[in-house]
Amino acid sequence: MTVVIIAGFSIKIPEIAILEQTARNLFLHVPMWFTMMVAFTMAFYYSVRYLNDEEIKWDRKAETATAIGLVFGICGLLTGSLWARFTWGTWWTFAEPRMNLSALAMLIFVAYFILRSAFNDAEKRAKISAVYNIFGITTIPFLLYIIPRQLPSLHPGADGNPAFSDMTAPELRLIFYPAVIGFIGLAVWMMDIVNRYKKVKFISES
């Protein structure tokens, strides 16, 4: 896993430049969103598992996966904003559906943590936040994939096109896919660390 991450970073240096070098951002900005999707999918699975057998460990894992997904989503937003400044000429524009809808998606998950902090009873908190998480994650494919593809947009992947199209050189894929795997591996590793911390804390408190 670490090897994959290192490869994803070091191989990218000798690459052809289109979009004036910022094409390299593809290896950094896009995997953020892929990783976020994977993390939220895991959170969805854990939330369903929690409602299924009501073991507190699934709630722990769901919370961790959502937190990691949110971290990567915020990374994606910030990097996208910086990238937009130098290719579209603005930090933020409300004419761009994907940008605004992804910000909205982030707010949904910020609300998840606010909801969690509102309960003192662990079981109640786990149950309600699991239900909220399932609903919240269901909106993600619509906000990030379906609606932006229907609307005109500068972002690649608008107007019904897949994001990989004419403006992406095929050589970029060679680095892109290892980078995606690397970032997902990093996210899973971070989740594992946080989960182990929460488990020890739970044991020590009980």
Partner: protein, 85 residues
């Protein structure tokens, strides 16, 4: 800096979002030193900025986890000493 970034500064960059040609990096001569620096060298510093953003956000997250682990260790140590006493 190369001359391809120069333009007539009449339109703002956002107005050109749906035009055939994007004016994102044009007119940087009037902009601040930070923007000029970022637009130099074929925008390679944008890539640097993007990787730094990711690095610092992840670093911030891991430092937070580290702090939590430290406080947990301390409470565990306190619990042990109170049990012994």
């Amino acid at each position: 800096m190369s001359n391809k970034f120069t333009q007539e500064p009449t339109r703002s960059a956002v107005d050109t979002l749906y035009a055939d040609r994007w004016d994102g990096v044009e007119g940087v001569e009037q902009a601040s030193a930070f923007i000029q620096f970022m637009a130099s060298n074929d925008l390679i510093f944008v890539v640097l900025g993007v990787s730094l953003i990711i690095w610092f956000v992840l670093l911030f997250f891991m430092i937070r986890v580290d702090r939590k682990v430290t406080s947990l260790e301390e409470t565990l140590k306190e619990n042990q000493s109170t049990e012994e006493a």
